[in-house]
Symmetry: C2
Subunit: 385 residues, 2 copies
Amino acid sequence: MGTAQDTPLVFSGDTFTATYRLRASDANEAADIARDICVEQTVEFPADLITRRDILDGIIGRTTRIEPDDETHFEVEIAYAAETTGKDFVQFLNVLFGNSGLKPGIRLVDFTLPETMKDIARGPRFGRAGIRDLVDPLNAAHPLLATALKPMGLSNETLARYASSYAEGGIDIIKDDHGLVDQRFTRFEDRVRRAADAVQEANARSSKHCLYFPNITGPADQIVERAHFAKQVGAGGLMAAPGLTGFDVMRQIAADDDIALPVLSHPAFLGPIMLGQDCGMSHGALLGTLNRAAGADIAVFPSFGGRFSFSREECQDIVDGLTKETGHKTALPAPAGGMTVDRIKTLRDFYGTNAVFLIGGDLHRQGSNLAQACRDFRARIENEG
Amino acid sequence: MGTAQDTPLVFSGDTFTATYRLRASDANEAADIARDICVEQTVEFPADLITRRDILDGIIGRTTRIEPDDETHFEVEIAYAAETTGKDFVQFLNVLFGNSGLKPGIRLVDFTLPETMKDIARGPRFGRAGIRDLVDPLNAAHPLLATALKPMGLSNETLARYASSYAEGGIDIIKDDHGLVDQRFTRFEDRVRRAADAVQEANARSSKHCLYFPNITGPADQIVERAHFAKQVGAGGLMAAPGLTGFDVMRQIAADDDIALPVLSHPAFLGPIMLGQDCGMSHGALLGTLNRAAGADIAVFPSFGGRFSFSREECQDIVDGLTKETGHKTALPAPAGGMTVDRIKTLRDFYGTNAVFLIGGDLHRQGSNLAQACRDFRARIENEG
């Protein structure tokens, strides 16, 4: 290994860190596992066969902290050289967890970005303040309300009519259901045009500022095109599903100055990454910090108490990832997944005003006047403050 | 719900099925969970609020089988209408497991494709027989041998020199390490050109048929371009990492008739989907059936007994997913992850001849003559047969 003719590598000193929660019986075992991760995530080559000091010292990760968490777990922080990822966000994810994610007993719970990644992974373009300015220019300090166009199977005409009622009723953000893509019964371009028009017309009537977020998820070669189309016909934002498409295309769309729309991230297909014990990524690292780094202004997740199983602590972890100091703008949590009008007070108490409450089917349970159901929902949530 | 003006939906009868392993105490509970999945994965809307029969009967999934697995688990099969996904493989994955993957107690263990997806998700272009024809035209019935250009940090000149030695030593497939993308010390185009040239020259000298698979993983907007570049400069195949980039771009590249190269799938970032208990996807469904449906001719996975933790049963599950009758060509398993020369017999006995044995660092442990180390490895593995 090594070879005299290679010019020695020069490193900038710019690094990024990953924090892993390890299952280990003592600090020595944790240090051994950490050392394995340092090698696995970089050279993936027996370190004893590497003679080049520049690779050993510069490419291989370095354990910078080992702390006990509980009796059987340790938290370790590893620093990686920015040079391992270049300016490639996909490779950044690969160095964070590409191979070690295949091993049990290792959970990625936090990370930072290198300086070189700052102009690649710029975080939310709008962020909490920017979204609030768009939908609530008077800054009323109320939680934002969102709903989805659904169910799959309705015609675009009917979906647009719903959109009109929702906007009229004071919903701030209307997104496509994540199951609406470009099917025979709901062609993408027709749907987006109709719903965007319906929302703009309702806004004009009501002097409100509702935003429509079409789902741009689709075949890999059509996503960016759909984002541009949506922008062109007046969508107010875009919905991405990074678990289905990879995080990088969301990052790319969020960073595209010609698109320049708010981005809402849907958690489809991301569940398994969080659900295992002592493996995968923490809820906060995945749906919080990573979503935000990859440009999500709003992150949808299934809240505690609904149809899903996330605990209060896991939901708080996501909120923390979206809001803690990282150098990126603060993003908005959008608790969802079986929100009902009855649960408003509990959710309002927990998430406060800086959240997007996403309610779906339950709006249709409140009677046949959808706009009135939205108004009632808004009144309930504002009065619970 | 419903609205008189919508034209009723018409369904072709074409369906696809998903098989989930559920944690449930009895068949009634399993049926209830299955019913929830049928709704969650399609309309994601309270079924009692839907009055339209076409949506209730046609869009919502249908449980077609419930069978006990062990005392606390049931296997259920659900059929979904092809119309829910259209011709969109991303949406197909979304219907299979987008939301239900966020719930514990549900593991996706198998699936089939609808007829409408057959020209979208064509499976391996070459498959086992095609790859064997390319690298071993005499059909010697030996296992295939693969290695990786690594470690990260070496210059492209050195990596190309290694490639030359590996090809000369009789390695069938040389892939980039999955950590080599387009960093300052290993620019993509330069690396691919040099390594492809080195392998072609070695093939010309030896009359062998070694194939070089560069790693085309990278920023979302550069992957397809990299695939075309690699083809242009004589790469023999392509390595994708669907966990990092999404499965659809691999599918797209595999199905591209202008590229028409064998595809090797690397499992980076896919680990967490499999590692949890009673959640996520089974090893065979993810690294076997899904990899294959999305066009992988060769699927790399960490074998039992190496640095990783996959069991023999889990490895067999992957092999089954790659080889069972699905209508797609059979794909090749590539066990990896700490293969050593010492373990050849065990692995040879388990995987037989229809496998690609991927050995990395251990080749460098056998002395400084890399080509000789490859020849020794080949002799060992052929003689263990």
